[in-house]
């Protein structure tokens, strides 16, 4: 019954989109097709990469959009391929099922469909796809950590880890757990990218098996583009006032000023702390729209998860109990995370390390129409802002910069993409940095995705470390 309803809804909406928004053709609903395809035909390397690392063997939409940044694409595909296909503690169907579970937390039907196919191809038991009640208890136990990791990673404690690895019939070994955690974090983050870039469903649904669920198939992406019913006063008020061109100039100006000011500006420590807190608090109000949490629970996707109402809760508004801020310097990816991950699941550390490094350092020294711009500051602001929303604080970062560099509409977008990606709309995507190229916005998405993945990993790995000591 529900399935039928949904499918009808899906069909109807797709039709509407086709009429109203021709840009939904191509890999992304947000990016005009020619932007992506142009870049694509040129790039022979991408095709080779796809041949080499793709598990499905075809150029999927994610890859097409990412191929705007071929350098990054390589490390992305390589690490993804490694965790899905190469030597690892978990059997192949498990890996895909975990991916499905992760994507389901954000109702990302695109990823779910993709991995349902892969899951079956790698010999997974079809029955599992009926929902969590049908999978082994062991996989089911992963649910809790999946939930926390996706929405409130700071709540993960060593008790959660202990519960999973405690000897018993359904226990996880540490390497298995690390593999699972890496997969979870990867697919949570990838869901952010999918929604953030408005990835369209694959055009040619593979009908080779009967398990692809049509109702799921067309479900979410329609919602992405469908933001007519959402009114955001603060956003629309911004539109008319600031001319987009001067917006860009203003940003450049601010960056320049920040760079110069740095020496003489001497903020006290209290001031710095306040700024972090302020940034954290402000992120509260960034998404002011009240979403009903139960919207999501109706979807078919929810059978892969439990407690679908559990969502991101602002770190800053954590209520009575005072959760300590995660001090980035006390548990860094480079020093601690890497060693642990690599120890328990060999070589993935190097691949992730390369990917993080790549995304952090990726730059073309351009900003919209300007060339020869040092965008380090901007990239760092984006990265740290994401971490800030997960309660990770860098001692050596002045969070005042975030305020200066990231305009409100961008903050809305960042917050939505990282915390509730399923609510991203085309309007949000369009409303920030209107002068910027699409490839630059994809770059932003990559940064957000990796920052999010790293944040999740840091929390999970810290919990594992604590369990070990």
């Amino acid at each position: 019954m529900g399935a039928i309803n949904l499918s009808q809804r899906g069909v109807r909406q797709e039709k509407r989109i086709r009429v109203s928004q021709p840009s939904t053709r191509g890999p992304s609903a947000f990016i005009p097709e020619k932007e992506v395809v142009q870049a694509n035909t040129v790039d022979e390397r991408t095709n080779l990469l796809v041949e080499e690392y793709s598990t499905s063997g075809r150029l999927d939409n994610i890859t097409q959009v990412m191929s705007l940044h071929a350098q990054y694409l390589e490390s992305f595909l390589r690490s993804q391929f490694y965790m899905l296909r190469m030597d690892g503690p978990l059997p192949l169907p498990y890996r895909h099922y975990i991916a499905i579970m992760a994507a389901a937390r954000h109702q990302c039907s695109y990823l779910i469909n993709m991995h349902v196919d892969e899951f079956l191809k790698t010999g997974g038991i079809a029955e599992w796809l009926n929902g969590l009640e049908y999978v082994p208890q062991r996989l089911k136990n992963l649910n809790e950590i999946n939930k926390l990791l996706a929405h409130r990673p700071w709540l993960i404690t060593k008790d959660h880890i202990q519960k999973l690895v405690k000897t018993g019939e359904n226990n996880w070994s540490l390497p298995e757990l690390v593999h699972a955690v890496v997969l979870l974090a990867h697919y949570h983050a990838l869901a952010s990218f999918v929604f953030g870039s408005g990835i369209n469903p694959e055009r040619d649904p593979d009908t080779s098996n009967g398990f692809r669920l049509i109702s799921v198939n067309n479900f979410c992406v329609c919602d992405l583009a469908n933001d007519n019913n959402i009114e955001n006063a603060s956003l629309s008020s911004n539109f008319g006032i600031v001319d987009s061109l001067s917006e860009l100039e203003a940003l450049m100006e601010r960056m320049k000023r920040l760079q110069e000011e740095r020496e003489d500006e001497e903020a006290s420590q209290e001031e710095m702390t306040t700024r972090f807190e302020k940034e954290k608090k402000e992120s509260l109000f960034v998404v002011s729209r009240a979403f009903d949490d139960d919207i999501v629970s109706t979807s078919d996707v929810s059978r892969y998860i439990e407690d679908p109402g559990f969502g991101y809760k602002d770190f800053a508004r954590r209520g009575e109990e005072h959760l300590p801020t995660f001090r980035a310097q006390d548990y860094t990816w480079e020093n601690h995370g890497f060693s642990l991950v690599n120890r328990l699941y060999s070589d993935i550390g190097h691949l992730l390390d390369e990917k993080f490094r790549m995304v952090y350092n990726l730059t073309y020294n351009t900003m919209a129409t300007h060339e020869d711009v040092d965008t380090t500051m901007l990239r760092r602001a984006l990265f740290n802002y994401v971490h800030c929303m997960f309660g990770i604080r860098y001692d050596d970062y002045d969070y005042g910069e975030v305020n200066q560099l990231l305009e409100r509409s961008l903050k809305v977008y960042i917050k939505t993409v990282t915390c509730y990606p399923e609510r991203t709309t085309k309007r949000m995507y369009d409303s920030y940095w209107r002068q910027f190229k699409h490839s630059e916005k994809v770059h932003v998405n990559l940064l957000l995705m990796e920052a999010r993945m790293q944040a999740e990993l840091l929390y999970a790995l810290r919990a594992i470390t604590r369990h070990l000591t």
Binding site: L48, E51, E52, Y53, T55, G57, R58, D87, P91, R262, E266, S268, Q269, E270, M272, T273, R327, Q329, D330, E334, N335, H336, F338, S339, L340, R343, H350, D353, D395, D396, T465, L468, T469
Partner: protein
């Protein structure tokens, strides 16, 4: 020179004493440093900054430098260093990028002296110049190193590493102008302090970040580096190109490295993750630490030798909020716990054995290895008299060669090939295997299979003719009784070893052993053995006893010869059966009531002369048969027995064939052990298919997952015929996709099936489908392909 003298007197007049001791800090430490006089230590961390006095029996808090109501981030220290010339001067690196100096001579409570806020990111390391009073160096996450003159307000020079963050900076102890810096990308750079424009030289030291480095206190050219890749490397910098002279492999990323004073080849390390111990290595012996301190409960973050010239006192701070003083004589020495012997089989059955020289009996006519392979050879390690941990002075390596035919394992290979382990009913499997064993003249094994069948298969399904086939034939020709032979099943052991065993057991043990063996053996081929008997009486000590036992060497079962040259030391003589008397005892209780039923017509009684347990196989009693569970203890002991005898093949085969019936009787670990041994053996004989089958059939999780590891298959490119290193479906060299499916023209990444006639092929499914409707090759080459 004058300085040196002063230090020595300081040490002389104030000899260090103390014991292993610790004190609780209020917060995790990030770094520690000692005062020149070795009497005080400073501990710094995110929430702690204190000075402790090191007294004879304890640490005493002397000063808390963290003052103020709401301490700022400037107090959040990533590193701290105490000036080695001025005992009032300290410097810290703060996580927010500030470099702070502290003057303990200040009268006020706040000792903060200067504040340098030039770095944009966290400062990872600060370092004072060893001889220059006012020179301070810092290295930061932002990729810059800065040199400060403490008399000025700003840095005097900035060095750009042109790369990612700086992890460590260290002034050379001997070269006034030189300092080393290590980087996140694995590089080490050497700088001249006078030339901030460019580094003097650079080399890649590690794969991944280099967390730390330390100059050798005496040797001018040596630099030790430690990295995330778990290595400690010692570089000789005297030559043009930095040369790696030693490399120590640790088990976790190396966070700190410190040369041990007065010991040229020793250094101490601690790790940043997972491993909480502090190791002291002799770099010439890189595989095992010479000393180990295991006190900390969380990662050690700072280590420092208490005095510049004293090698026995080490201080350490840790994330577990403790500060320790370690005394060398309390250190644990892993060498003492390490197994000093090594034993390894060569491909062709040769055996190498290495041990401490003192353990190996000295053989005067020993010759060097290349001369005669049958004689042991010796290595000699040079002794360094200055080393105190050199407990093993030299070791000997002996190589034993097997004689060409002595250890022919043909029976093993044959058995492995021909055994059926699954796919048929239990009875059939047992019969089949019994037949196999019999044909290889391993009668005892054959008998065991038959017995198993009797035990576990219900009598209804057991055609008696079949049974006849397996035991009947043998027993008809038996002179039923009087003496029976107890066959030894020591298939894997030389006869000498067996001899030892039979001598070593005492009388009653023999009895037990006999009874248990009796059950699982049969004397069907008595007559063939008859000829051997006189020559092979072994049991002198039981002779003349009332139950006369003839323990015979059972030669014909296996082809091994008594001259099998394996040294007996290699095999500890274990006979667990004695330790597990439950089975046999049990049996003896029932001995008077024969309960094992075989063939009605041919009742085989294993009857010792008189009072010995009578076990007969009689069908009548079998009617009131005992549940198979009743025998499981027995079967378990039987399996153990085979395994102990070295015939792990039998143990594993039975385990697989019986499956659930016996599995729970034997603990997982033992099973796993058997499986691995058997698989190992199979692989040595290159019986890959069989070993794979065994892995597949095994029920141990640890074993079945063997098949999931390293499942790589290397292939050559179909275009350029060269190996494809990276992926199986794309060639790095000719940049082409090698194997495309003839049906869908996509790259095949999984199962590739191809016609051996025309060598076209593709996805298994696609080809299958194609050939359902067509007989020609999908590639259109005209070949009539066949799929079977």
């Amino acid at each position: 020179m004058e300085k040196m003298a002063r230090v020595t007197t300081a040490l002389g007049g104030n000899t260090l004493t103390g014991r292993t001791m610790y004190c609780h800090l209020d917060a995790p430490a990030n770094a520690i440093s000692v005062c020149r006089d070795a009497a005080q230590v400073v501990v710094a961390g995110r929430n702690i900054f204190k000075i402790y006095a090191i007294e004879e029996e304890q640490f005493v808090e002397k000063l808390n430098l963290r003052v103020g109501r709401k301490p700022s981030l400037n107090f959040s220290c990533a590193d701290v260093v105490w000036h080695q010339m001025d005992e009032n001067l300290l410097a810290t690196a703060a996580t927010n990028g500030v470099v702070v100096t502290w003057n303990l001579g200040k009268p006020s409570r706040n000792k903060q002296d200067q504040l340098f806020t030039e770095h944009k990111r966290t400062v990872n390391k600060v370092c004072f110049h060893p001889t220059e009073a006012y020179m301070l160096l810092s290295g930061s996450q932002d990729g810059y190193m800065k040199c400060f003159d403490l008399r000025k307000k700003d840095s005097v020079s900035t060095f750009s590493g042109q790369s990612e963050s700086v992890r460590d900076v260290q002034f050379s102890i001997r070269d006034y102008f030189t300092f080393a810096a290590t980087f996140e990308n694995g590089n080490v750079q050497l700088w001249d302090i006078r030339r901030p424009d460019r580094y003097e030289r650079m080399f890649t030291a590690h794969n991944g970040p280099v967390f730390c480095c330390d100059w050798h206190p005496e040797d001018r050219g040596w630099l030790a580096t430690g990295g995330r890749d778990k290595m400690v490397k010692v570089w000789d910098m005297n030559t043009n190109r930095a040369k790696e002279i030693y490399c120590v492999q640790s088990i976790a990323s190396v966070a700190r490295v410190k040369w041990r004073p007065e010991c040229k080849h020793h250094l101490a390390t601690c790790s940043m993750m997972v491993d909480h111990n502090i190791y002291v290595w002799d770099v010439r012996r890189p595989y095992i630490p010479s000393a180990m301190f295991e006190e900390h409960r969380d990662v050690t973050t700072g280590i420092v030798w208490r005095h510049l010239h004293d090698p026995y006192f080490l201080l350490s701070g840790s994330k577990d909020s403790t500060l320790y003083q370690h005394i060398f004589k309390d250190a644990s020495q892993p060498i003492e716990r390490a197994n000093p012997e090594g034993l390894c089989y060569g491909l062709f059955g040769d055996l190498a054995f290495a041990a401490k020289e003192s353990l190996v009996t000295v053989d005067s006519n020993r010759k060097p290895y290349p001369g005669d392979r049958r004689h042991p050879i010796f290595f000699k390690r040079k002794l360094d008299p200055t080393e105190q941990f050199e407990s093993v002075s030299s070791s000997a390596l002996s190589v034993f060669e097997t004689e060409p035919d002595s250890s022919s394992m043909g029976w093993f290979v044959d058995t492995a090939r021909r055994y059926a382990l699954a796919g048929r009913s239990l009875a059939e499997l047992c019969d089949h295997n019994a037949k196999v064993a019999k044909e290889l003249s391993r009668n005892q094994v054959a008998q065991t299979w038959t017995m198993l069948r009797i035990i576990y298969c219900s009598p209804g399904t057991m055609p008696s003719a079949n049974l006849n086939h397996s035991i009947g034939k043998g027993s008809t020709s038996l002179p039923l009784m009087n003496s029976f032979s107890l066959k030894d099943m020591a298939s894997g052991m030389g006869s000498e070893a067996r001899l030892d065993w039979s001598k070593g057991e005492n009388r009653s043990e023999n009895l037990l052993l006999d009874s248990s063996t009796t059950l699982i053996t049969n004397d069907e081929n008595e007559e063939t053995e008859g000829s051997d008997v006189p020559a092979d009486y072994l049991l002198g000590d039981v002779e003349g006893d009332e139950d006369e036992l003839y323990l015979m060497d059972h030669e014909n079962a296996h082809t091994e010869e008594p001259e099998y040259v394996l040294p007996q030391e290699a095999f500890p003589l274990r006979h667990e059966i004695v330790d597990n008397p439950s089975g046999p005892d049990h049996l003896q209780d029932k001995a008077d009531s024969p309960h094992v039923s075989g063939n009605e017509a041919e009742t085989v009684s294993l009857t010792p002369v008189e009072s010995f347990s009578l076990i007969s196989i009689s069908h009548t009693l079998y009617e009131s048969r005992l549940p198979p569970d009743f025998f499981s203890a027995l079967v378990r002991d039987m399996l153990r027995f085979y395994a102990e005898q070295g015939d792990v093949q039998m143990a594993v085969s039975v385990l697989i064939v019986l499956g659930e019936r016996i599995r729970k009787e034997i603990d997982e670990q033992t099973q796993e052990h058997w499986y691995t041994s058997y698989i190992d053996l199979l692989q040595r004989f290159r019986l890959w298919n069989i070993s794979n089958q065994v892995i597949k059939l095994s029920t141990c999780r640890a074993i079945t997952c063997l098949n999931q590891a390293s499942t790589t298959l290397h292939v050559n490119c179909s275009n350029c015929k060269r190996p494809m290193s990276n992926k199986g479906w794309i060639c790095d060299r000719c940049r082409q996709c090698a194997s495309t499916c003839a049906v869908c023209h996509h790259v095949v990444k999984g199962l590739f099936v191809w016609c051996q006639g025309c060598s076209h092929g593709g996805h298994l499914q696609h080809i299958l489908k194609w050939l359902e409707s067509s007989t020609h090759c999908p590639a259109g080459c005209g070949h009539l392909c066949e799929y079977t």
